[in-house]
């Protein structure tokens, strides 16, 4: 097995879709939490192939989208005014800040570099001991071990010129925020498979009980998604609410103990501001005090003004699953991936970008 092509088999997907059609006798609204799943659903045309009874709503699981404007401004400030080598995932570059995006900062002469891994940023720091290197560490639980490792490696290598600008968020508090919203109409969740690869599934049991909703840990390939949806629909139809794991080839119930250990060592849980959603208590990671030397926020004593959000962008409503991307009056007009008003139009995990790139798919989607 190659664990990829087999899960893209159109015949298997068709059989699952047929079974979903048979199983869903009433309308159901299911949220896929992760933006990677949103993209896979849209890109592979699954949204159009699902029966009208199954309505998928796209969740807040796009790290770039929920990174606060203020933090982007901080990154731009570090790159432009403090002269650091600012390293970031490619997705982050085009997200508009209040002054500039990182891409515009780069065009204005700042040393902004696109990397695939924080470990590469540390390599740059070790190659340029005379320069300060900052990694813009955005992400959910999946990315936390890599960021934690980069800090531990930096400590081991004595690289004092390396630090991270953290914007780490967590999935379970986001599910709570979605369910606590009075406008929410979500009846079940597909939980993000790769987050659970790290954290395990234990955190979701209490949510299943409290909100009496099915949660199915699901993978990202087309066959994974349709199987996850079928498992969810079967629970809903029977009036059940259980925690199930569709993605068992990767997700162990206990998660990855080594990864959890390094996260625990480097990060502590803290309150976090989510762009478009607001402050969510205990919903993110912050570097522990013993790693303060690697915290770009403290190291550079950044003190810049908080800029207001654009009032034209409805990203918050899209992230909470209340509006669909194409229900935004600016969608595809004033807001495109080339000139985005908000982050969901930029990120490879943003719902707006998914709808824009695969826009011929939208016409047929029932909303």
């Amino acid at each position: 097995m190659k664990y990829m092509t087999e899960y893209r088999d159109a015949d298997v997907v068709a059989r699952y879709l047929e079974e979903i059609k048979r199983a869903a006798t009433r309308p159901w609204t299911i949220m896929e939490v992760c933006g990677g799943q949103t993209h896979s659903l849209v890109k592979n045309g699954i949204l159009q192939l699902l029966p009208d009874t199954v309505r998928m709503v796209h969740g807040p699981g796009c790290p770039v989208c929920v990174t606060p404007l203020h933090l982007i401004d901080k990154a731009v400030h570090l790159a432009l005014d403090k002269g650091v080598i600012l390293c970031s995932y490619g997705d982050m570059l085009r997200v508009p800040g209040s002054r500039h995006s990182l891409l515009e900062a780069k065009a204005a002469g700042a040393d902004v570099r696109i990397l695939y891994s924080p470990l590469e940023a540390l390599k740059i720091a070790r190659e340029h001991p005379d320069r300060e290197v900052v990694f813009f560490a955005v992400g959910f639980e999946t990315t936390a071990p890599a960021n934690a490792l980069s800090v531990l490696h930096a400590q081991r290598a004595g690289a004092t010129n390396y630090s991270i600008l953290t914007s780490h968020v967590l999935v379970p508090p986001a599910i709570e925020a979605v369910m606590n919203d009075p406008d929410s109409h979500i009846q079940a969740f597909l939980a993000a498979g790769h987050v659970c690869t790290i954290m395990g599934v234990d955190e979701y049991g209490p949510l299943v009980e409290r909100y009496r909703i099915p949660i199915v840990v699901t993978g990202f390939e087309p066959v994974d998604l349709v199987q996850g949806i079928l498992m969810t629909v079967r629970q809903l139809e029977r009036g059940e609410h259980r925690l199930e794991n569709q993605y068992s080839r990767v997700v162990k119930p206990e998660g990855n103990p080594e990864a959890r250990k390094v996260i625990e060592q480097v990060f502590g849980v803290s309150d976090r501001e989510w762009r478009g959603i607001g402050n969510i208590p205990l919903s993110g990671y912050e570097l522990r005090p013993e790693f303060a030397a690697y915290d770009a926020n403290l190291k550079f004593a950044i003190d810049i003004e908080r800029a207001p959000e654009s009032d034209e962008c409805i990203a918050g409503l899209v992230l909470k699953g209340i509006k669909k991307p194409h229900e935004c009056p600016q969608f595809g007009k004033k807001c495109t991936p080339q000139n985005p008003l908000g982050a969901p139009m930029v990120s490879s995990e943003g719902a707006c970008a998914a709808y824009y790139h695969f826009s011929q798919a939208i016409d047929n989607i029932t909303v």
Binding site: M1, K2, G36, H39, S117, P145, H194, R249, V250
Partner: protein, 125 residues
Amino acid sequence: MEMGAMRGRPRKKCQRQAFVWLWGAIQQRLLFHLQYEELMCLAIPGKIQSIEHQYDGLVRMAKVQFGSIVKEASLEMVPHAKSGDYVLVHVGVAISVVDEAEAQKTFEYLSQIGEIDELIEHTQL
């Protein structure tokens, strides 16, 4: 004199344009793949080709093959992973070894639920 004529193979303007268009399309496709398959904040499965130690022997690093692309990944989070295993790699770190027995279950699920439904129907009768 035109370049094509110098080489003794005159190339028509439309042929050149077609070539430029095709090359552009290939590049677009490559960029698309880079953006959507490689750089995405997702984790993808790849096969461990070889393992070596870095940072004075403290860190296990692997060459991992994703289709025709080979990338380096840290194996610190998967201490039992060995050459030939499929690992899920996210931003340069392997986070899980793919379990072959579990992987098979997805393809057996449909026939299983068929049997379960039949069983339920029979008990109800």
